[in-house]
């Protein structure tokens, strides 16, 4: 266990109760300016007022700073080390993007400001739209959806509108068994039913499998490309043609777009709609689970149905147009997660067209390096060319009684975030590794050494133990639901 000793130090980590427990009546962390107009008593204005003040914590400014800073030290983050979650694309988040997005110029603008004041923001949106058209080779973009799953829902609503406009209702969405869980959930929310297609032994969709389920009720096929096995769907062009012959559409889940920037454009392989995850591919921070941003790009077929408002140029001026008779309408108030657009816009400017391709090339190189270093110890259920991520399972470890979950939990003791496990569902006990282009060789080696040492020492029972909190009892959490702090008074 030498490497374990070497790889994790002893951090200063302090306990911190909830703010409700440390709260002391009378303390405050803000000062308000003196009220410069006559004070109005709510009881005199409203028929009824709130029965008692909300029990928010009372702490001074230094106490608030310590409260949250202490809590922050209990988190792992990309800023600390490799975060190889497959299909999540945990890459470095450039700091200029934060500085700009949080500056007054950007953060204080209101979407209902006079249009003359908003030209800069609309210009950013316009340019990002053009960037995304370039990446996909597709003619239409809407920036409105708030996250990847929201983009999926929006895309599927467009699919529904497309068929409705042709005077028919189609109820089926085909998904591959490599699909993300959001795909069937989004399809159900858009009013569709799911039929699943099994991928072949080589991990991709085969025309014969599609032919077996393709009929006049199929509205679209939804698949990720490259798929969640990190494999490019080599039959995608045939698949697209087969769908289009039936006037069904091809939905590409863009979760794995980081593999193909400047290398392959969804528009060129027949995609009708794709959602972007700006928080994956274009490096807007994950923030512990959002905010994301999930713009969509569409083919000619779906242009009339894009959400409103839409950006339009009137001479040099950019305006927002609300009227579009065939549009599905709005999917979010205002214009989308603009703060994420500016971050993605900065990221794309920083890299440029050629740099974006470099990103994908390096992401692919890193994933292949991980494959080369681990394939002698871990089993690869599907042996095909690896792009940005590589999927193994625990078959080689079964005889030493080490499974995927245990390997993942033990990695935590080495000061590393585990890879994605038990996904994609088509691989039992999957181990899915996506290093991304922003990991150095030495950081990848650190991960590989840790995993190899775990495999050499399968008998360690308890893990993780070298952390702020050891194995968390999730069953107790679900059985004895405690979702809020119970106030004493």
């Amino acid at each position: 266990m030498d490497f374990l000793k070497k790889s994790t130090g002893h951090a200063v980590v302090l306990e911190e109760p909830t703010s409700f427990e440390t709260s002391r009546a009378g303390a405050t962390a803000v000062g308000l300016p003196e009220l410069d107009v006559a004070r109005v008593d709510p009881k005199k204005v409203f028929k009824k007022v709130r029965s008692s003040k909300a029990r928010l914590p009372e702490l001074s400014e230094p106490e608030v700073i310590r409260h949250f800073t202490r809590m922050s030290t209990w988190n792992y983050a990309i800023d600390l080390g490799i975060y190889p979650l497959g299909s999540c694309t945990m890459k470095y988040n450039p700091r200029l993007n934060e500085e700009i997005a949080r500056s007054g110029e950007l953060s204080e603008a209101h979407p209902y400001d006079p249009i003359e004041w908003s030209q800069g923001h609309l210009r950013v949106m316009w340019e990002l739209t053009e960037d995304l058209k370039g990446v996909t080779g597709m003619p239409g973009v809407s920036l409105q959806p708030a996250a990847g799953a929201h983009g999926e829902l929006t895309g599927l609503m467009l699919v529904s509108a497309y068929h409705k406009a042709k005077g028919r209702t189609r109820k089926t969405i085909l998904t591959a068994d490599t699909a993300h869980g959001t795909n069937p959930a989004s399809a159900a929310l858009a009013g569709f039913q799911i039929v699943q297609i099994a991928t072949g032994e080589d991990g991709v969709i085969h025309p014969e499998a599609l032919a077996a389920v393709l009929n006049d009720d199929v509205a679209a096929l939804m698949t990720t490309n490259p798929n969640t096995l990190g494999i490019f769907e080599k039959n995608i062009l045939t698949v697209a043609n087969m769908l289009h012959e039936k006037d069904a559409l091809l939905y590409i889940d863009g979760a794995n777009l980081n593999a193909v920037l400047g290398l392959s454009r969804p528009g060129d392989f027949g995609a009708d709609v794709i959602q972007f995850n700006l928080h994956k591919t274009f490096s807007t921070p994950h923030g512990g689970g959002g905010p994301g941003s999930g713009p969509i790009a569409v083919s000619e077929r779906l242009l009339p149905f894009l959400p409103v408002p839409r950006l339009e140029k009137q001479g040099e001026k950019i305006v927002l147009v609300d009227k579009a008779p065939q549009s599905i309408g709005r999917v979010k108030a205002f214009f989308g997660n603009y703060g994420m657009f500016i971050r993605a816009w900065c990221y794309i400017r920083a890299l440029g067209g050629e740099g974006l391709r470099q990103v994908s090339e390096n992401a692919i190189l890193n994933a292949n390096y991980m494959r080369s270093q681990l394939q002698d110890v871990l089993h690869m259920p599907v042996n095909a060319p690896t792009l940005h991520e590589v999927v193994f399972n625990d078959r080689n470890q079964r005889e030493i009684n080490l499974d995927t979950t245990k390997m993942a939990k033990r990695l935590i003791d080495y000061g590393m975030h585990p890879m994605t496990v038990h996904f994609p569902l088509c691989v039992k006990n999957a181990i899915m590794i996506e290093p991304t282009e922003t990991e150095s060789r030495s950081e990848m080696d650190r991960f590989v050494s840790a995993l190899k040492e775990i495999i050499k020492t399968p008998d360690v029972e308890q893990a993780p133990t070298r952390v702020f909190r050891e194995k968390v009892d999730e069953t107790k959490a679900a059985r004895e639901l405690k979702l809020t702090y119970k106030f004493k008074d």
Partner: protein, 129 residues
């Protein structure tokens, strides 16, 4: 293999039914419970609800998953095991006896069910995959 009582009939979805004339008692099998892991919640229908054979009458939730519960035979719910819904974790003890799920008034004699022998063979095959 007394674990799977001979007097019960079984479904492919791992429910069992104990038929007594025109009444039945429905539960889920020990095998299913083992597969589910720690059970945290049961969602069962109200007394009086009617179901067809094969229709979902509720869900069983573990920390890992939620599974639908399917009717082994058509009928109307006459009683729900509220002792169990209040303490769903107890289902691991005696799932084929006192920890039944619902009692039903059957619409007719159940059909297309497995005997305990057939069920044992069925789950042995499922486990080998």
């Amino acid at each position: 293999m007394s674990q799977y009582p001979k007097e019960l009939s079984y479904t492919k979805e791992h429910e069992w039914i104990r038929v007594d004339g025109s009444n039945g008692i429905v539960g889920i099998t020990a095998f299913a419970i083992e597969q589910l892991g720690d059970v945290v919640h049961l969602d069962l229908p109200k007394v009086g609800a009617k179901f067809k054979a094969g229709e979902s009458f509720g869900t069983i939730e573990s920390t890992k998953t939620v599974s639908d519960l399917y009717m082994p035979a058509a009928g109307t719910v006459t009683e729900v095991n509220t002792a169990l819904t209040n303490a769903p974790e107890d289902i691991t003890q005696d799932p084929h006896g006192k920890n039944w799920l619902i009692k039903v008034a059957l619409d007719g004699a159940p059909s297309n069910l497995m005997s305990s022998e057939q069920y044992l063979k069925y789950i042995a095959e499922a486990a080998s995959h």
